[in-house]
């Protein structure tokens, strides 16, 4: 057994808890999880059955934590997990799972399958079986500060640009501001409209806010690759920044897994509850709306639909807020089939978008989104995750569909009532 494999198995042993043991004992091989997974439904290949993606983890569980499994291992009836096997599973664990958790929603015995995939990735990463693309993104996040290699000067340049564009100065490191706003690399590089939108909305609402020079990046590829140690380093920057600036609330940007990383995993990674609140930007906007602090005018007349980012809806509980906001500015808002917590993934979550080996498969399974979208007849697709947005744009382009994808926050900002500001 190689040293890295030994470490990987040790990590997996540590990951196995009562829920995982209960889940493995409950599985009756009914295969219903496959029917919930876009990688199976769009390819028809049984190897993409979610529970099968965990087979090495299951064997480790059995061999280490059950009496019969220990006996079977001793007499050679149960084979130990090997490096070759984990390398073979790399495709299943990383390329063909977006951590979308649809399987966890349908399993009749109640198994939270994605919870186990997330834990399995911890062992995969440690044993050296994570994909190159994700390793690169995580290394950049640790060494440079962002997975796409964005540094502070790039943010400052964008602040200046936005200042010129919308006429509002972007606050940086303002102690005591109510909100600390985080960005995702995608927003800094590809969707600069987001920062301008925030500036306009905050001004209208009369709220104080700030960016933080030591923690502007929200994305956390440590979560995607399955490395709690690295995820903790990245989350800690935000915690330290928020505590230094004494903000009340940290706003996670339009990015699904950044929200999961900070809102749900964050406190567990740093080992203590946060002293500040974490909200997704849509939650903040919906609060403003309810308090009468968000006033819009005019409507989009084209038919529009909203793509639910998995980490926001199914793994995050932000379901009603985007609907409320869509209805403020869209006259003809239609839902896709299975909208809300049963929504189908764009195919690029959970680190898949950073993984070049997964690209072909990702475009293949985009067929499900394509079909859903076509049924609505929508002319524009709205979402609230910069990663979903890029993946949707690429998918639509691949299938030669001329449908723009916009961020909900920006769309709201475009309709802000001028008189109020």
């Amino acid at each position: 057994m190689s040293a890295s494999l030994e470490k990987g198995v040790a990590v997996l042993k540590e990951m196995i808890d009562a829920p995982i043991a209960s889940y493995f004992n409950s599985c009756v091989h009914c295969g219903l999880c496959a029917e919930a997974c876009l990688f199976y439904t769009e390819t028809g290949d049984p190897k993409y059955t979610p529970i099968h993606k965990l087979e090495p983890l299951r064997r480790i569980y059995e061999q280490e934590y059950t009496l019969l499994g220990k006996l079977a291992k001793m007499v050679g009836l149960s084979k130990p997990v090997t490096d070759n096997e984990l390398e073979e599973w790399k495709e299943l664990v990383y390329n063909s799972c977006t951590l979308c958790a649809r399987c966890s929603l349908v399993c009749p015995v109640g198994n939270d399958i994605v919870y186990m995939v997330r834990k399995f990735r911890e062992g995969m990463a440690v044993s050296g079986h994570a994909p190159e693309g994700l390793i690169g993104a995580t290394t950049r996040a640790i060494e440079i500060g962002s997975p796409m290699g964005v540094k502070l000067p790039a943010v400052q340049a964008q602040m200046k640009h936005v200042h010129k564009d919308v006429g509002i100065e972007i606050p940086m490191d303002q102690e005591g501001a109510e909100y600390m706003v985080l960005l995702s690399s995608m927003e800094i590089m590809n969707f600069p409209e987001y920062l301008g939108a925030i500036a306009k909305i905050m001004k209208q609402a009369g709220k104080t806010w700030t960016l933080c020079s030591t923690a502007f990046e929200a994305t956390n590829s440590g979560i995607q690759i399955g490395s709690s140690d690295l995820a903790k380093v990245i989350v800690n920057r935000i915690v330290e920044g928020a505590e230094r600036l004494k903000v009340k609330t940290v706003i996670s940007p339009e990015c699904g897994h950044a929200y999961t990383a900070l809102r749900w995993d964050g406190a567990n990674l740093v080992g203590r509850p946060f002293s500040f609140k974490v909200l997704h930007i849509l939650e903040v906007l919906d609060e403003f709306r309810a308090q009468g602090l968000l006033k819009t005018e005019g409507f989009e007349m084209d038919r529009m639909t909203f793509h639910d980012p998995c980490q926001l809806v199914r793994r995050g509980g932000v379901v009603q807020q985007p609907r409320n906001l869509m209805n403020m500015v869209a006259k003809d808002f239609v839902e896709m089939e299975d909208a809300g917590k049963y929504n189908w993934c764009c195919g690029g979550g959970g680190g898949v978008s950073a993984n070049e080996d997964a690209e072909e498969l990702r475009l293949q399974v985009f067929k499900i989104k394509k079909g859903q979208l076509e049924k609505t007849g929508a002319k524009t697709m709205v979402t609230a995750c910069a990663n979903c947005r890029i993946i949707l744009e690429e998918g639509l382009e691949h299938y030669q569909m001329d449908i723009p994808v916009v961020g909900l926050t920006e769309m709201i900002a475009e309709h802000l009532a001028e008189s109020k500001s």
Partner: protein, 219 residues
Amino acid sequence: MNEMELLNWVRGPGLNIAVAVFLLGTIWRLFEIYSLGRKQDLSAPRNAAGASGWHTVVRRSMPPPGMLKRSPVSYISGYAFHIGLAIVVFLFAPHIVLIENLIGLSWPALPSQVVDLAAVVTMAAMVLVLVDRINKPVKQFLSTFEDYFTWAVTFLPVLTGYLAVQHLLLPYTTMLALHILSVEILLVVLPFTKLFHVFTLFASRWYNGNANAHKGVPV
């Protein structure tokens, strides 16, 4: 060993061994699984209506939207044989008498014709489930020896019980002895195979429901 000796053995020592293995095995397995514990979630919870471990324990008995259409045999035959098994095991008059003799509790039985029908439906549904397992690529792919073995171990008590009641194939005494023996095999096997889901599924649903309820998602 003639059929009377076999019957006496399965009713006496055989039953004692089977029940002991079943009880001790179940307690051991439950301890083995749930003593692993889990970490406390330190993130701030979000509450939502209908989201809790208990909600999920109940809710997961129903097919989620769209799933019935995707795998009708799993759901329809699944319901049929689970409900059928419950009727046959717990609402057949001789079974109730046996339970009363063992633990002193009893309840009204269903007429034997109804239980007969339930047994036939259960067997038919189980055969369908087996055919589905062999035919459906995903199920076939996932299936191991254990899946077929546990199917047989569950099917045989129903079959032998039905044949005994109907006085078919073998003399009643022999068939009854085989019926009791097959139940004993089932009891011995249950804690150590996937059949153990009869206990763990409730905890699994609860864990899943509880963890997601923390995020305000009713699952």
